[in-house]
Symmetry: C2
Subunit: 402 residues, 2 copies
C-alpha cells in the first residue's frame, strides 16, 4: 500500500500546486490562462495557486507577453525562479571529491574539489563541510537557502537508509553516510551510487535529456551501469541493479578462469575491461616480445590505449578484445532493457570516437533491437550535476510532479 495522504482536500491542492509549478518550470514563460488550459484547471484556481507560488518566490512575473492577433489584454508571463533555492552536489570519486553548488535549473554556480586520499573516514565529511562553507560564503548564501545536498558515492548504496553498503575504493562498508552528513549539515542529505547519480544527471540535462528509458555504462576501474526505467532510476531489489561488471560474455573463458584468486570482488567483464585488467592482458601479451619495447615499466591502461591507436599490433589486439567484450555487454543490456539510448561514460569514453564504430557493429549484429550509443554530455561535472538532480527529483518538495 502506498503512502496515504491524510487531509482530504489539501492533497488535491498540493497536487495542483506542484503541477502548476512543474508546468512553469518545464515549459518556459506561461500565462495563467495558458496554464489553466494545459492543466484543465479553471482560471480562478490557477490564479489562487499562482498567487501563493509568487509569495513563496518559486515563480516570478516576467513582464508582459504579446497578445493574440485578434486583440485583447496581454498575458502576464510567469517564469520559474531558479534562484528560489540552491542545491549542493557532492561527487565522491576514488581519486577526488568534487563539490558544486547549483541553482534549481542545474546551473553550477561554483565548483570545488579536493583529493580523496588526503581525508579518510570521519575527517572526510569535515573536509566537505569546510569546502561547502567556503562556497556558501563566496556566493553570499544562507543555510536556509539550501534545499538539500546530494552525494554520489562509488559503491553499492542503500538509498532509503542512506548507507553505503560497500565502497571498496574508499574502504567503506555499511557506512551511514546520510546520517553522518545530516548531523553535520542543517539540510536533508540524499545518497546514491555514483553511476546512478550520473544517469539521472544525464537524463536531466545531458545526452539523455527528457528520455524515459536510459542506460548509462560507466567504464573506469570497474564497470557499472545506471538504469532509468519509465523515467525513474531503477536500483534493484537489493540496491545491486546494473552490476554489468559481472556480465559473462565468454562462457568458455569464464569456466576456465580461476575465479577465487586473482580478482576477488570484481566481475568477469571488469577483469578484461577495467584498467588493471587491460594492463594485465598487455603484460601477458608483452611476454613474448623483445625486452627493448617502447612501453614504460609501469604502464597504465591509458598507455595501452595510446599504443593501440598508434598501431601497435599487440596493444591493438588487447584493446580490440576489450572493446569487443564491452560491445557484447552493451548489446546484451540493450537486448534486455531495450532503452531509448545507451550512454558511455568514465575514463574510457575519451577514446569513444575511435572505438564506437566497433561497438555499434556488435550491437547491430547481436542485439535484438538497436539503440543509439553516445558518450555522456557532461564531463567531470557529471557527478555533481547528478547529485544535484538527485535532490531535486527524489526530495518530497513542491518541486516534484504529482
Amino acid at each position: 500500500m502506498k503512502f496515504i495522504h491524510k487531509g482530504g482536500t489539501a492533497f488535491i491542492k498540493e497536487k495542483n500546486k506542484r503541477n502548476i509549478l512543474h508546468c512553469i518550470k518545464g515549459d518556459g514563460p506561461l500565462s495563467r490562462t495558458e496554464i489553466a488550459e494545459r492543466l484543465q484547471l479553471s482560471k480562478p484556481t490557477v490564479s489562487a495557486i499562482v498567487e501563493e507560488l509568487l509569495n513563496e518566490k518559486w515563480i516570478k512575473e516576467s513582464g508582459i507577453g504579446v497578445s493574440k492577433s485578434l486583440g485583447g489584454r496581454k498575458p502576464i508571463q510567469l517564469v520559474f525562479n531558479c534562484r528560489a533555492a540552491y542545491v549542493i552536489g557532492v561527487d565522491i570519486g576514488g581519486t577526488k571529491v568534487r563539490i558544486g553548488i547549483s541553482d534549481l535549473d542545474g546551473n553550477l554556480l561554483d565548483v570545488d574539489e579536493f583529493s580523496t586520499q588526503n581525508h579518510i573516514h570521519s575527517s572526510f565529511l569535515h573536509a566537505i563541510k569546510e569546502r561547502v562553507e567556503m562556497l556558501l560564503e563566496k556566493q553570499g548564501m544562507m543555510n536556509g537557502e539550501i534545499l538539500g545536498m546530494g552525494i554520489g558515492a562509488p559503491g553499492m548504496t542503500d538509498v532509503d537508509r542512506g548507507i553505503v553498503i560497500d565502497a571498496p575504493s574508499l574502504g567503506w562498508s555499511n557506512y551511514p553516510l546520510k546520517k553522518e552528513a545530516e548531523a553535520l549539515f542543517p539540510w536533508p542529505v540524499l545518497v546514491d551510487n555514483d553511476v546512478n547519480v550520473a544517469a539521472i544527471g544525464e537524463q536531466w540535462l545531458g545526452a539523455a535529456k527528457g528520455l524515459s528509458n536510459v542506460v548509462l555504462i560507466a567504464i573506469g576501474t570497474g564497470v557499472g551501469c545506471g538504469i532509468i526505467i519509465n523515467g525513474q532510476l531503477y536500483r534493484g531489489a537489493t540496491w545491486a541493479a546494473g552490476e554489468i561488471g559481472y556480465m559473462v560474455t565468454d562462457a568458455a573463458k569464464a569456466k576456465g578462469a580461476n575465479l577465487s584468486t586473482p580478482h576477488e570482488g570484481y566481475g568477469f567483464l571488469e577483469r578484461f575491461t577495467g584498467g588493471p585488467g587491460i594492463v594485465q592482458s598487455m603484460q601477458h601479451e608483452l611476454k613474448g616480445r623483445p625486452a627493448d619495447h617502447s612501453f614504460p615499466r609501469d604502464f597504465t591502461a591509458r598507455d595501452v590505449f595510446q599504443k593501440a591507436r598508434q598501431g601497435d599490433p599487440d596493444a591493438l589486439q588487447v584493446i580490440n578484445e576489450v572493446i569487443d567484450h564491452i560491445g557484447f555487454a552493451v548489446a546484451n543490456v540493450i537486448s534486455i532493457i531495450n532503452p531509448e539510448i545507451v550512454l558511455l561514460g568514465g575514463g574510457i569514453s575519451k577514446s569513444a570516437d575511435w572505438f564506437m564504430p566497433r561497438i555499434q557493429n556488435i550491437i547491430q549484429d547481436f542485439a535484438s533491437v538497436s539503440a543509439p550509443v553516445k558518450t555522456t554530455a557532461f564531463g567531470e561535472d557529471l557527478g555533481v550535476v547528478g547529485a544535484v538532480s538527485l535532490v531535486l527529483r527524489e526530495t518530497e518538495s513542491v518541486l516534484k510532479e504529482m
Copy 2:
C-alpha cells in the same frame, strides 16, 4: 506531464474509493473502522464510500466478526465480492489457443482450448468468439458482467495501440489484434506479449506473488523474458525489453558463427537453447556415432533431454552446454536487474529439478548478487491467468489502486 484529472474534488473521492476497495480486496475481511485506521481516513468517509461499494456490489457484508477482548460492539466484516464481474483471458500459443473465464480473484471458472493451426488469421478471432460464447452460456453470464478480455500473443506487441508487431509462429506482422477483437466483442480488449502476461500472472498469484521485482524467463521455441520492475511490467522503449534470446554468452562463438544464414530472426542464445537448436547440436554430436543408435530418426529436444537424464554421454554434453548457456544468461540478467526472484518457465521447466543446481552454481559463481531461481507455479493455465491479470491491473477501473 501525466494525465490530468479534471473535476477537482471528485478525484480524491475516486482515489479513496479505489484505495478502500483495494484494501478490502487485498487484506481479507475488514471492518469500516479498521479501514479508516489503515487508510488514515475518518470513519464517516469510509462509511459513505463503503455504502457506495456495497450498492455497486463490489463488496459484501459477510456477517459479524469477533469483538476485542475488552468488550464493545462487534465489527461488521466487509469482503471483496470476487463475483462482481468476470474477466476473459486468452493465451495464444504457437500450437494451441487457451481461453479461460475467471472471477476477480483469479479463480478460473472454466477453460477451453483449440488448436492454433486450424484457424488462421481472420477466422482466428471468430473461433475465439465461438468458444467465449459457449463458455458464457455454460456459466449463465451476460455480456455486461464481463469486465474485459486480456490476450497474450506470442510476439512483440505494442500494448498501447494493441498491435502485434511481429509474431513469427503465427505469421502475424503489425496485426491490429486489439482493434479487430474489439470489433467482435462488446468489452475492452487488452493485448500483450505472452511472456509479459505470464510474468504478471506469476506475480499476481503464482511463485512471485506480491514481489515487486521479478524476472520470468520462458524457454521454449525461443527464449523470452518478462520483467517486472517496481511492481510494474517493463516493456521497453520499443516493446522489445526482455529479448534475452539475443544474449551473447560466448563472444568467441558468436564472432565465429555465420549470423545471417542459419537462424534468421533468432538470437544467439536461442540457437543453443531453443528446441531446434538442441536438435541440431545433437545431430552434430551424433555424426561421429555408429548408425545403430537409439535415437529415433526425427527426434525432438525432449528426446535429447530424456537421453541425457538416462546418462547418454553425447546427449548429456549437449544438454549441459545448453544449461550452461541458460545459466550464464540468467546470471547476466540477475547482475543487471537484481530481481527478487527469477522464474523459469516454458517447456524446459519440466526438467527443472534436474538441471536447477547447475544453474544455481553458475549464478553463485558469476552473478553479482544471488537471487532465488524457481519454476513457475502455474502450468498450462499461466497464460490465461496472466491475461486475466492484464485486464485487472492495466484497465482503468475501480479495481486499480491509486
